[in-house]
């Protein structure tokens, strides 16, 4: 152990970071070397004086109060999330309505036929003429054709009248 090595390790010695064998080497060197003893004393003094800078110390009641304050802050943070959650939920509902439309908002163009059919049959505004309708009806059986015509005329389904050619 020389003075250079001793100087480097004496701080570690002072803060409990040296193993027993290294500590012993330093002890032996310090016994012999006055200069290193002086340095060692200075380092020791620095560490002791540094530790003497006080930190405020508070009792358990103080920290319980701080914990309670933290608790109310946690609750406020949850509460502040509520508007975000509500807004998100409303947005999802509105999106669902517009995308899937379980009911129609434009009933003027759609006719719910409930009387003559067992279920609800929805017809769009028919964009073809009565003539064409009669042509279509040709392709279904007579009974169905009669029923269809009944429905259409009973409900005043608007037909687009093209010029009869």
């Amino acid at each position: 152990m020389n003075c250079k090595k001793c100087k480097y390790y004496m701080v570690d010695y002072l803060v409990g970071e040296l193993g027993d064998s290294e500590k012993q080497e330093i002890d032996i060197h310090l016994e012999k070397c006055k200069r290193c003893r002086h340095n060692f004393a200075e380092y020791q003094s620095v560490i002791i004086k540094s530790k003497s800078i006080p930190v405020p110390v508070f009792d358990d009641a103080f920290w319980e109060q701080r914990l309670r304050e933290l608790g109310s802050y946690k609750k406020n943070r949850s509460f502040r999330l509520l508007p975000v959650i509500v807004t998100s939920a409303v947005t999802v509902v509105l999106l669902f309505i517009f995308l899937f439309r379980p009911f129609s908002l434009f009933d003027g163009n759609k006719i719910m036929v409930a009387e003559n059919n067992k279920g609800n049959t929805v017809f769009n505004t028919l964009s073809f003429s009565e003539e064409r309708l009669l042509e279509i009806i040709d392709y279904i059986d007579e009974k169905s054709a009669e029923e269809l015509l009944d429905i259409l005329f009973k409900n005043n389904i608007p037909l687009v009248y093209s010029a009869i050619q």
């Binding site: 480097y8 701080v11 570690d12 803060v15 409990g16 970071e17 002086h38 004393a41 200075e42 380092y43 003094s45 620095v46 560490i47 004086k49 540094s50 530790k51 003497s52 800078i53 006080p54 930190v55 405020p56 110390v57 508070f58 358990d60 920290w63 319980e64 701080r66 914990l67 304050e69 933290l70 802050y73 946690k74």
Partner: protein, 174 residues
Amino acid sequence: MDSKREHEFNACYRTYAPRIYGLAYRMVNNHQDALDIVQESFMKAYKNWEKFRGDAAISTWLFRITLNHSYDYLRKRQKEKTFEIKRDIEDAKKYFGESKIIKEDVLKIVSLAIEQLTPKQKAIFVLKTYDGLKYQEIARITHSRIGTVKATYFQVVQKLRKNLFLKEVMKNEL
């Protein structure tokens, strides 16, 4: 957070809050700032409670969070440049009374010297000197190598020694 976790968190707060405060106070040298750091650190811990993997001690994790918050405060203060280095004396008088202050001039010089350290140097010095942590633990907390921690601590003590003894403040004490 369920009640079991809430209970764990509260127990953790009661155990570590004073130590976290001590670390924060030594880093930022101001009571109110240190208290804010404590609350912010525990709030962060609370938000990330489920993410804590348990691969390090909970104190390591808390110290790390606290240091990060302390660095933020120090950076902000550096920008504002409003902080005056006389709080140590005032705070010490406020909390401890005159009789417990050893020597005002010594205290002042040591405080000033510590205040001039970089945040990382200060963190290593505080964790070693006041918390008594091992170099390995400090290395984990500060994301540094053990060799870096050792060398940094040695440099800081050298610097303090130079400030105290070359200024002849403590020459007669030995």
